[in-house]
């Protein structure tokens, strides 16, 4: 079966020119030659094989495909991959180091912040951006920040607890 990436890999017969994009992905410089209509989510998943970024609704609703774009959460199904040229993208694969989970990942583990796990990468990246800006959020602030990420298991209580757990851990509390 042809992968989606191959399917929209430039068609030689097309007069739409190929674009070369160079981005900083999880701290590393990566480049790709793509068609302008390739979405960022597709470049990450099918192009760079980073399948931690999930595509849920594909209609800008659910937030499962959230990645950090220059440090801010964006829906990668609603950005063109060419727009990442010259920018920084962080996916869930960029959270942990080789030996250690990120405190947010630890929080999700400790507080049972996931059930099926589908929304988890997006939740964690949105949470990271929140904690980068506000290291000591209230529960309301966590709920507000996560309100664009949907959990079909409806496991919101523990997701909120996980983020508060991570905030406390990062503050050394």
């Amino acid at each position: 079966m042809t992968s989606l990436f191959e399917e929209i890999t430039p068609d030689p017969a097309s007069d739409v020119p190929v674009r070369r994009v160079t981005l900083t992905l999880n701290g590393e410089r990566r480049a790709a030659e793509i068609e302008p209509r390739l979405l960022l989510a597709h470049l990450l998943r099918s192009g760079f094989k980073l399948t931690g970024t999930h595509t849920g609704c594909d209609t800008t609703n659910c937030g499962a495909c959230t990645v950090l774009f220059d440090g801010k959460p964006v829906k990668s199904c609603t950005m063109l991959a060419v727009q990442a040229d010259g920018h920084e993208v962080t996916t869930v694969e960029g959270l942990a180091t080789a030996s250690e989970l990120h405190p947010i990942q630890e929080g999700f583990k400790d507080a049972h912040g996931l059930q099926c796990g589908f929304c988890t990468p997006g939740m964690m990246l949105t949470a990271k951006a929140l904690l980068d800006e506000n290291p000591d959020p209230t529960e309301d602030e966590v709920r507000w920040a996560l309100s664009g990420n949907l959990c079909r298991c409806t496991g919101y209580q523990n997701i909120v607890k996980a983020v508060l757990w991570a905030a406390a851990k990062q503050r050394g509390a």
């Binding site: 597709h42 959230t66 199904c77 609603t78 063109l80 664009g148």
Partner: protein, 291 residues
């Protein structure tokens, strides 16, 4: 889902961008935040031949309040910038109230106020806010700049009057002559959904009397409704309970709601009546406290 093929350009200046749009001859679209355009392209409701991505053009991402109180919102100013703006919070209450209600927090990091105005979605929140404030936009084309009032910008659902080579570079809210007050209320089924109905109220006080008022309605017509009769009903005096009820009734009459999956026409009209009254009542009690 992915869009049909298009040519992509990311110019570094407005001059370059308008030249590209002119070459595109009506088949090119401006890409700013893309939070409406990209979904439409993925669904193939839109299939422009060229996208002119303005995100790499410097100088368009700011918002500012001039010395005289005029507010200018650049074409790349994101909803999140407005949500977290300290100047808006103190200077422009209707905009400050609306900013956190646009879409959801992730979309707000990307989407823009100006893009929302140009997109002309009858359920667009900003169009109501800028209409209620009597705002306008500044469009730049290959032959120069012109000013278009918010009420003239939109020619129908998802349609605007911009020429094919024009880019809206900023939205402008004129300086208030009195003390600005106002708010925005929106009924949504869940965070990020389009408005079932929404109401923007923007007034100016001077010596206990309302000197200017704007009321605009979201999601209850083929485009944003400028409820001028309702607004006129509160100008020239204090906000009495009687005048509030009268204005709310006129706003409800101005609405042209249609029954759909978000609610019946009668329900939406009732929401408009209730929200208009609620916003005006809040302003009346805030004014009493201040007095």
């Amino acid at each position: 889902m992915y869009p049909s093929r298009f040519r992509y350009e990311a110019p570094r200046s407005l001059e370059e961008a308008t030249a590209l749009l002119r070459d595109g001859g009506g088949e090119a679209k401006v890409l700013a935040g893309g939070q409406s355009l990209i979904p439409l392209m993925k669904l193939r409701f839109a299939a422009p031949e060229m996208l002119v991505d303005i995100n790499e053009i410097p100088g368009l991402d700011s918002h500012q309040v001039d010395a005289d109180g005029t507010i200018r919102i650049g074409a790349l100013c994101r909803h999140a910038d407005l949500e977290h703006s300290t100047v808006l919070a103190s200077k422009q209450p209707t905009m400050a109230a609306a900013a956190p209600l646009i879409a959801d927090p992730i979309v707000r990091n990307r989407g823009t106020l100006v893009g929302s105005l140009c997109h002309a979605d009858p359920q667009g929140d900003w169009a109501s806010v800028i209409t209620a404030l009597g705002g306008h936009v500044v469009a730049q084309g290959s032959s120069g700049r012109r000013t278009i009032s918010m009420t003239d910008l939109v020619s129908g659902p998802f349609q605007n009057v911009l020429a094919s080579d024009e880019i809206v570079v900023e939205a402008v809210v004129p300086a208030p002559k009195g003390t600005p007050a106002g708010g925005y209320l929106k009924l949504e089924r869940r965070v990020g959904d389009f408005a079932t109905a929404g109401v923007a109220v923007a007034i100016e006080w001077s010596g206990g009397s309302i000197t200017r008022a704007g009321i605009a309605l979201t999601g209850v017509g083929p485009s944003t409704i400028d409820a001028t009769d309702a607004a006129q009903a509160v100008v020239g005096g204090a906000l009495t309970a009687e005048r509030i009820a009268h204005a709310a009734e006129l706003a409800a009459q101005a609405a042209q709601p249609r029954t759909d999956h978000r609610g019946s026409a009668a329900f939406k009209r009732q929401i408009i009546r209730t929200f208009t009254a609620r916003l005006l009542t809040r302003l009346a009690s805030a004014d009493e406290k201040a007095a």
